[in-house]
Assembly symmetry: D2
Homo-oligomer: 425 residues x 4
Amino acid sequence: MPDTASKPQATASPPPPASQSERYSRIRALSEEICAPLQIEDYVVQSMPDVSPPKWHLAHVSWFFEAFLLKPFLRGYREQDPAYDHLFNSYYETHGRPFPRAGRGLLSRPGVSEIYRYRGHVDAAMEELLERPPAEHAAEIARRVELGLQHEQQHQELLLMDILHILAQNPLQPAYRDDLLGTAGHAPSELRWLEFPGGLRQIGHAGAGFAFDCETPRHRQFLEDFRLASRPVSCAEYLAFIADGGYARPELWLADGWSLVQQAGWQAPLYWRREEGQWLEMTLGGLRPLDLQAPVCHVSFFEADAYARWAGARLPSEAEWEAAAQDAPVHGNFLESGFLHPVAGGGPWYGDVWQWTASAYRPYPGFRPLPGSLGEYNGKFMCGQMVLRGGCCATPLGHVRASYRNFFYPAMRWPFAGLRLAKEA
Amino acid sequence: MPDTASKPQATASPPPPASQSERYSRIRALSEEICAPLQIEDYVVQSMPDVSPPKWHLAHVSWFFEAFLLKPFLRGYREQDPAYDHLFNSYYETHGRPFPRAGRGLLSRPGVSEIYRYRGHVDAAMEELLERPPAEHAAEIARRVELGLQHEQQHQELLLMDILHILAQNPLQPAYRDDLLGTAGHAPSELRWLEFPGGLRQIGHAGAGFAFDCETPRHRQFLEDFRLASRPVSCAEYLAFIADGGYARPELWLADGWSLVQQAGWQAPLYWRREEGQWLEMTLGGLRPLDLQAPVCHVSFFEADAYARWAGARLPSEAEWEAAAQDAPVHGNFLESGFLHPVAGGGPWYGDVWQWTASAYRPYPGFRPLPGSLGEYNGKFMCGQMVLRGGCCATPLGHVRASYRNFFYPAMRWPFAGLRLAKEA
Amino acid sequence: MPDTASKPQATASPPPPASQSERYSRIRALSEEICAPLQIEDYVVQSMPDVSPPKWHLAHVSWFFEAFLLKPFLRGYREQDPAYDHLFNSYYETHGRPFPRAGRGLLSRPGVSEIYRYRGHVDAAMEELLERPPAEHAAEIARRVELGLQHEQQHQELLLMDILHILAQNPLQPAYRDDLLGTAGHAPSELRWLEFPGGLRQIGHAGAGFAFDCETPRHRQFLEDFRLASRPVSCAEYLAFIADGGYARPELWLADGWSLVQQAGWQAPLYWRREEGQWLEMTLGGLRPLDLQAPVCHVSFFEADAYARWAGARLPSEAEWEAAAQDAPVHGNFLESGFLHPVAGGGPWYGDVWQWTASAYRPYPGFRPLPGSLGEYNGKFMCGQMVLRGGCCATPLGHVRASYRNFFYPAMRWPFAGLRLAKEA
Amino acid sequence: MPDTASKPQATASPPPPASQSERYSRIRALSEEICAPLQIEDYVVQSMPDVSPPKWHLAHVSWFFEAFLLKPFLRGYREQDPAYDHLFNSYYETHGRPFPRAGRGLLSRPGVSEIYRYRGHVDAAMEELLERPPAEHAAEIARRVELGLQHEQQHQELLLMDILHILAQNPLQPAYRDDLLGTAGHAPSELRWLEFPGGLRQIGHAGAGFAFDCETPRHRQFLEDFRLASRPVSCAEYLAFIADGGYARPELWLADGWSLVQQAGWQAPLYWRREEGQWLEMTLGGLRPLDLQAPVCHVSFFEADAYARWAGARLPSEAEWEAAAQDAPVHGNFLESGFLHPVAGGGPWYGDVWQWTASAYRPYPGFRPLPGSLGEYNGKFMCGQMVLRGGCCATPLGHVRASYRNFFYPAMRWPFAGLRLAKEA
């Protein structure tokens, strides 16, 4: 296990115990804090089908509480507007007909203030429900509230991803915030190869804490001995791949990745650009000189996989990653660290950048989705996507754990995603 | 010429003479009045590539004055932001590289207040230029100012078209304004066939007043005797076409129109919908019961042409239209009438709905575009589009004339466009 | 009128009078002669949606006789296969449901020999019908037979266009025929400007000979004085346009053309390529060094229009072209000349290359389509296309005339199309 | 293990030992036998980008021997045509630039006879090489010859898949062969649930026989106890899923599958159609009444997965399948059985239909691709595809084995693919 105590890094200790009601307030407030630096116009834009307008996020996470808690459990609850059940349903086909995802940016109404009013409306009702939950449903309510809060935390990260993508389309290159902590001056630890013994390992979530259905059931998986790099790949290391013709050598790429490289003209990570001989990167703090020491970020699975092949290594499987990380404390550079960008020298396993794994996102043996419409939360996406592990600089503190499975399509580059290398022992 | 004196209609008399500076102020103010009912979010959305976000319109028309008047003629002029010359250039390729049209909705910045500040910045500089134009360029300046104002009037209509299109995408069906005059209770005049003698006629603009380059030169055209309907086709008449299977009978359609009908599933004009046996129409005043008496609106050229064939008639050529209308006064239901929707019993030739003609938009014999980048204003669009005549309920008063040539692609339905029938004599 | 008597050119005199039955046999035989050099595989390919597999052409023209003559007029006629009425209906929606155009290349069956058998089947029945036409329909039959033969002649040219396009996709660059006459050594006449007086002119077809419905009615059109170039633009002249940056200067292009230039990367006419500093052209005779003297061919309307603007000229209107050419004999380099490629020094008005005009393909005043399904022949295509005049090196002798209106979309480059310049007087 | 001895099924025993040269001749001949019923036109069509024209297959498999054996190892070898190295390279980017896959149907040349000549040319040279292989490369040559033959066998199945797809596009619904054995009258065994113990199992190829690189290395995998159905799902069973609204219930589908169902309008397996109340299926023997007893075929992974969910079961992992089947003999309904269609009552594990598994096609732990360009054979496709097991009625006898990993994208329906159900123990 690498010694990282002396590194200048953010710390992500587990949140102190709190009542669910306090937790509700705190998490709901954070979503609004994230949006505070936005101008009203920024709330409206959908820069690609995968991105949602920030005001949609704010409404959708409220709809989640309305649809799955207030309507079923709060007697006498009245919606602010019945149309919202259509507009802010993301993809719950068994709940109702969702408004088409790619059209979210067509909706100027309800406006931002109306959506904040909707949040207040939901919060007031949730406060009532949390204070006096009907006894026969109290356990289910507590479970769903926790799910709703975890869901909102996921959208907090999505908000930051989407805001960056929206602002990055703009030739003015506006900064989301001018006051973010700078990342310069932090140095990465030397890259070491950590050895892990194989054998039959327990993978997946167990125990009392919250986990998504896709992290369960805990099960056995046999691993060969393996080695993992002690930290993610840095921008300087990734530049060596580019300099060595990485984006022009088909033998390094999966076939679908190579097609994309050619069609889309990829030549560097998503937000990098070269101007007058200098590499710049668009960040939530605006356009900055590339921080060579920081972990490389905003690469697709295809790029991560090609880099690993070039480096004579491979990506770890999700089981290897989990086996390696499961006893380590969850600390690193998370949303609350104040960077909103990867920083060199961060936590050994968590934070900074999601780490693409070699594993397709598929159900664990014996997987059962949640009952009812909530069963659409994770299970139906288990095809065509790859697992990422570890959280990132836009993930709220306390949201991830060793068994946490994030997932994206292999071509996606707008997540805060990088990679860690693996090798056979 | 039909007698319409007794009809309840709006009157569009020529504007009283005014100094160019007064005219500048009045027209610039109208653009902002049009946007006054919008929420900030409404300014941002681009609902299809043909539509521009309202804030883009407001900035672009200002850029026009900046690019073609302030920069060339106002000594010491400083731009508010040099990036605007890229962002708000619509299609002047010889002036600079325009920002891609289809991406206008990706730009949350500059925000609405910034764009109003830009308008003020341009207006202050224009005031200075108009007060003390350099003598050697005074005539050219006056010509360009007039062009800039006519250009802004065109965008006033586009603003209303685009606002309607944006709001119509929204399942909430929000009204642009709740206080518009109602159209119910107006009755159309009886449809009569007006006869016009053929012969060698003068077509195109001549004389001192303003006209776009595409209206010139005035030239001779030979016409056979012809007949024109005394008013546009009404919604009730168009419903008969629908009821008779108009959208299901290929023999009524041009081939490209029939393809579209099938692909896009057209079954009625753009903003019509049938709910519980009743026809409704989305308007700038919100969703309303269809006004059967009003001229049919928001039909494509293909629909206009199919209707005419079904009715045993045809569309008029633009020369026929102009020969018929050129001595009539320009009055009818225009923007200032307060309906922002076609109304039965309006002006015999002008207002309510643009009238699709049978004529392709091509240069007149001897046509010369304006010199320099302003030559891109009209000439380069003279392919693939059809001419419309007469102005509409969203056209500013005084903007159209007998020789005015509007043009759209034959598939477009978001203009306020209807049709008038023609026949051989 | 230019003197071309001394030029080495093919002559296209009117065909000698012949019985309709002889004419039927001769024209039907020519279609098969055109296909004789093909391998069976060549008959099957559809290289783009606008192209049809040669075997489809051979069947479709036979279907035309079957659908419009044999079934209505030959008592007891039996189809070879009822499915052909669907497969080989091109676009007659009121006759039945046509097989989708873009899918013609999906059909390996019926095979080539089956289609030749179908031709024989139709020919035998047509022979019977032509020998003993029912008296009460004899006139209509004669009219339709002539239409069917003119239709087949159009497909003879389409066959050659499509064969060239099919073979040009192939990196092997196979020649359609190795034995075509060479075009080298012919020199163009010096370009002169021919002056034509304006005034009220008669345009359109009149008289006893065959014409398509779209050429009628003959009508008056007023023309200003104008000048036309004495011959089409040559490849050498077009190369000067390219060398002067013609494909990189937006001010020369219509807006839709400029979009295409950028999207499609056009840099030269369709079949030109530059290899090791030399310009080559793919032709029906295979890949050849570009014949600089020959008329430029396989340019779109957009390219023709841009060239004309660059040359300080314009394209002629179709009325100007017809007024100029209507008294000239129809001679020039046609299909039968044995070049199947434009040749320098050809006929002054006809042959070599279709000449793009400035006119949109729209109905003449008083136009009436043919009755019944045959009314779909021309009328429904009168939108979005441009008129071309004069015939080309792939047009059968005797098929064109002064009033003949060919038409294609402005982006199309696979016709044998070039241009002639025009100017105001 | 189910008793299938009494079932009317084809037997696929291992091929008798043969010299590699005999094996070469036999396998090469089979490709040509498969094509013997084709008309020349059938060889040319590419009915979708995934399909290749039969003549391309015949050439490509020959190119494989040329590129990887004759050029490197046969001194003095001369290509028939150097252009073929471009035209018939499928996807070996490190070997040279492959001709674009989606354009294979644009090539009428080289023609069919030329391609048979090419096969002869390659065969003659291969005979020479096989008779006198240079000693220092003999082992590598033998390995590559075997790979080339296995490759050709894969294309034999692809040929049959593609021929069916090509003929199925044709409204004439032509049969590939009229003389295929009928499938009616065979009855499926009763469906039983076979129980398998979990534990640490060995998966992947080991031993002396041929296997593709992707089947290696043999490695340990931990499995929970599981149950597998004793036979694939039948058409009758699948019809019950359809009748129960299977294609209209989003809760049964993976999200990407549900999108496809809606976009593409899937309502049944690929080649099924309902006419006058009867289900028909297009087969290599032409359009036939659906054989309800036969295994369902031509379903996508998405359909297989939805069916399994509907049935309260799941798909097996590839490891479960392999663990269950690895000791069973490889017999069942293969290409040589003479049905070319699934038949009820076939082999318990092999033949009839490929069985979609729940496993994404990813590298095994420690996977190493072949060196050089042959490394592109399998490894670069290990993303986005799902594994299928067991072979099908179009797979050549002796080609598959327990460790064989076939793979297709989850939306593909033109393979002969069905499914077997699995459950937890």
